[in-house]
Amino acid sequence: MTYVRPSFRHPALPKNALGYSVDHYEGTLSTLCAGCGHDSISAAIAQACFETNIEPHRVAKLSGIGCSSKTPAYFLSNSHGFNSVHGRMPSVATGANLANRDLIYFGVSGDGDTASIGMGQFVHVIRRNLNMVYLVMNNGCYGLTKGQDSATADAGSKNKSGSVNLFESIDLASLAIELGATFVAQSFSGDKTQLVPLIKAAMSHPGFAFVNVISPCVTFNNNPGSTKSYDYVRDHMETTAMMDFVPIAREIKAEYDEGTVEDIAMHDGSHIRLHKLEKDWDPLNRISAMNAVQNSRVKGEILTGLLYVDPDTSDLHDLIQTNERPLNTLTKAELCPGSDILTKINAGLR
């Protein structure tokens, strides 16, 4: 069932540099449960695209299967979307990106879609450093099939039916850093102030950008004993840094204390401005990023913010030396060797 969103918008909604108001970045009305963290993330994605003046049709939205994977319908209705098969979004995104390197690829997945059935593809899309945003809406459970534990549920956490998860959880952010992801961030669906700049930075990153967002499941995993509930996450969030994303050629207005501010220049000329809260953490250093994540895990806390970034990275196209022009724009004249060459090939086979 699709619901019709009311078409009335306040005429005085602010407009971005392209003349669009934020509603231009919305999608159809969500069919997820009321209060679902995923809807806040969809709104954050729309907000990030609005603020960075992105033409929606220059974005391709891709997803697998699950509650999270339904969301591409709920933001950017002027973008093409591909709701593919369970756990296989990375491969579809890889093919799409190879066909046209000029679009922004936004992949949305869930913890079941990524950490279980899709683990193989998740691992390999990181290895290839595909230029995309890979956002996991992580709630530690399977919502669409009514609340089974997922592989990111913490050992010892209790689900709605009261049963305790026996198995170790997979920490996707640690895994992404370990595998060589060149942008790894973690956030909480209830913290839009942090999430929007992270998404903006992820979109400007020239390689694989992983954003793990804890997004409580209000229906099946928002109970006492769950480490993915709103209350638990609010109480246990530890932030690496306050963060601003500064688009290309904008003046940086810092209001942080001196000595704690770090500017990271992104490939496209934009900047990430960080106000560090964690002392022993350097976002450009994989080892200290890994240590910081592990230290907070030991304390039962969730470290959020930008965890690691390598702004000067080479994506898959750089590695395999594809043409700067998108492959899907090449013409027959550029692709077909023609009959003269075929005559020569024939001659070589006699």
Binding site: F82, N83, L98, A99, Q321, C336, S339
Partner: protein
């Protein structure tokens, strides 16, 4: 061709080697020399699933009549593998020849009176002439080729020029190779009466034909058809498709100005990812393909269902091999027919193409890219190990430079810009649209101002697609594997789902007459009995038809090249009382396809089957048909 008792240009040689000993290139030299002498020749590799140390055979049929299938009965065995020697010895036909390495004497049990033994001390000769151990091993192979040159009358200058071409750029290797050839020549001239009664004589029977493998031809077809994205996972016997694509692409697809690649090849983590990438690339407007074999097709089933239902073009090349599971991965079979035709869950079916020669591998692969975009559904090219990995004498490849890539119904930015007019925006999801009256003259107007991804504007079941990034405000939609209406909006409404499935069936009907036509072997039907064969059964079937005709048994013949079946296919089946269906699998899968799709009466269909992993022979066909007609 019998000539004073001599079997000139009509014999079978089998080389029995140990794999990994460099025999492949020496044996190929023999084939190429016969080819250069203008005589029809067909080599077959019969090799183990192993890298080094196990028995491997290379069987070459020389046939002045141009028969390209395998033939039973070995006229000359080159037995250089001690492991397989007892069987190799037994396999020589009465009156045939057994060439072996006589560095050690043959054991006493090798005592057949009905064959001629030709002992050449290959190892001793090489040990005396070459000091390096690897050279001693490699040149043993070249010495027996030299011996064959004298025994079977291979023109020595032909061998010399082939060696020269093979080692172009490594000239230092030419001299020792020629020396090894001459060692073989000299030894047999001195010790045996040359030539034997099985011998070669130069002919001009090949015209401008080429010697080429199906896998390379498929790769070249993909290059010519404009494929830019190849994703794959290694699996025998399909691996050399992408190897060849990579080789040709690095030669013909590099931008002359920037030096950058006008293609992308990704070795995926598995077959699931490979086809996912292909679907992603095609969705985004690049021509893309993957190649695999039976087990890979199984893994791709889920994604094939998605591509079918979401109507994303996809080209899959299935180089079939023997057996369920890992079966016999280095042996040939046509046993993925049903798996491919109905791959995936739910109601799905896919167009298949059945090339029978490397030339057709080239053509049908290129056609597959047009067909998949015209039909917006996966198209599977069904070859097999025999066609893919062996060299075949085939007609030269032809490309018409005026041919344009047919991208099917894709709306451009300009067309989307013109999509103005009355909006039908108030339609709810699931509600039937009112357009689609069948007129295809002005498709844009029939959208009534609102693009609908799954609207059947032309009444042929094929909707109009848009490529991401085409237009700022028109043409975007969410592609999904779950049910949706004509405007790509999610719905679980039963009527809408059924309407969509019925439209997909209309598309299937459209496909029937869009696919390549069958080949008919007669102007008009002349018999009540007919025979149907496809792919690599073709060579042996053609030979069997001639042999049967010699015995007074006349059969009308049809070689289908595609599924779904067109009207002329149905007419052919309907106008015969008895139809033999030749195929290389146990379960008569092609026959099943006819029964399922056409409702053909099973009583009139007679299966002729081969499923031992080797290519079917004319004798097998002959015997099975004769037994039935008795």
């Amino acid at each position: 061709m019998s000539n004073n008792g001599h079997k000139t240009n009509d014999f079978v040689v089998r080389f029995a080697n140990v794999n990994g000993t460099g025999s492949a290139s020496a044996n190929a030299l023999f084939t190429k020399a016969v080819f250069r002498m203008g005589i029809p020749v067909t080599p077959k590799n019969i090799f183990p699933s192993n890298i080094q140390g196990l028995p491997t055979w290379y069987e070459v049929r020389v046939s002045e009549k141009g028969y390209r299938g395998r033939r039973e009965g070995i006229d000359l065995m080159i037995a250089v593998n001690p492991q397989s020697m007892p069987n190799d010895y037994a396999d020589v036909r009465a009156g045939g020849y057994f060439l072996y390495d006589s560095s050690k004497p043959l054991p006493p049990e090798y005592d057949r009176e009905d064959i001629t033994e030709i002992g050449i001390p290959l190892m001793a000769l090489c040990n005396a002439q070459f000091s390096d151990a690897r050279q001693r091993q490699l040149f043993k192979n070249i010495v027996y080729i030299g011996a064959l040159s004298a025994l079977c009358d291979i023109e020595f200058p032909v061998l010399e020029s082939l060696i020269g071409e093979q080692f172009k750029g490594k000239e230092k290797l030419i001299e020792p190779n020629i020396k090894a050839l001459k060692m073989g020549v000299d030894y047999v001239l001195e010790n045996f009466k040359c030539p034997l009664d099985i011998r070669l004589e130069r002919r001009d029977l090949l015209g401008d034909r080429i010697l080429f493998s199906g896998n390379s031809a498929c790769a070249l077809g993909a290059i010519y058809a404009g494929a830019t994205v190849a994703a794959w996972y290694p699996i025998t016997p399909s691996t050399s498709v992408v190897d060849a694509f990579s080789k040709y692409a690095s030669k013909y697809r590099v931008d002359p100005v920037t030096g950058k690649n006008n293609y992308a090849i990704v070795q995926a983590e598995d077959e699931l990812a490979a086809i996912g990438m292909v679907i992603g690339a095609n969705w985004n407007g690049a021509r893309s393909f993957t190649s695999t074999s039976g087990p890979g097709v199984s893994l791709m089933n889920e994604f094939l269902g998605l591509a079918y239902f979401s109507e994303v073009p996809t080209v899959l090349i299935d180089v079939q091999r023997t057996g369920p599971s890992t079966g016999m991965p280095t042996r040939t079979q046509q046993s993925d027919i049903l798996e491919a035709a109905y791959a995936s869950h739910g109601d799905t079916k896919h167009p298949l193409l059945f090339p029978a020669s490397p030339k057709e591998c080239f053509e049908l692969t290129a056609d597959a890219f047009d067909l998949t975009e015209k039909l917006q559904t996966p198209v599977i090219v069904m070859t097999d190990l025999d066609l893919g990995m062996n060299d075949h004498v085939t007609q030269p490849l032809v490309w018409d430079d005026t041919r344009q890539y047919d991208r099917g119904k894709v709306l451009t930015t300009e067309q989307l810009e013109r999509l103005t007019g009355t909006q039908v925006s108030n339609l709810q999801a699931g509600e039937a649209p009112t357009n689609g009256n069948g007129s295809s003259t002005q498709p844009l107007e029939q959208f009534n101002g609102k693009y609908g991804r799954y609207l059947d504007i032309d009444n042929d079941g094929i909707p109009y697609r848009t490529i991401p990034g085409t237009h700022p405000s028109r043409g975007a939609f969410v592609t999904r594997g779950s049910s949706r209406d004509e405007y790509a909006r999610y719905t679980e409404d039963g009527d809408t789902y059924r309407r969509n499935m019925d439209r997909l069936m209309r598309k299937w009907d459209t496909a029937k007459e869009m696919m390549p036509r069958p080949e008919f072997y007669q102007e008009a039907n002349a018999s009540k009995n007919a025979v149907i064969f496809f792919g690599t059964s073709t060579y042996a079937a053609e030979e069997a038809i001639e042999l049967l005709a010699d015995e007074g048994i006349k059969l009308d013949a049809m070689r289908p090249r595609a599924f779904p079946f067109c009207k002329s296919f149905i007419d052919f089946v309907d106008s015969h009382e008895r139809v033999f269906v030749i195929e290389q699998n146990r379960d008569a899968q092609f026959k099943s396809l006819m029964m399922i799709e056409l409702g053909t009466n099973p009583a009139k269909l007679v299966s002729v089957l081969n499923y031992d992993g080797t290519p079917i022979t004319a004798d097998e066909i002959l015997n099975q048909i004769q037994a039935d007609l008795k």
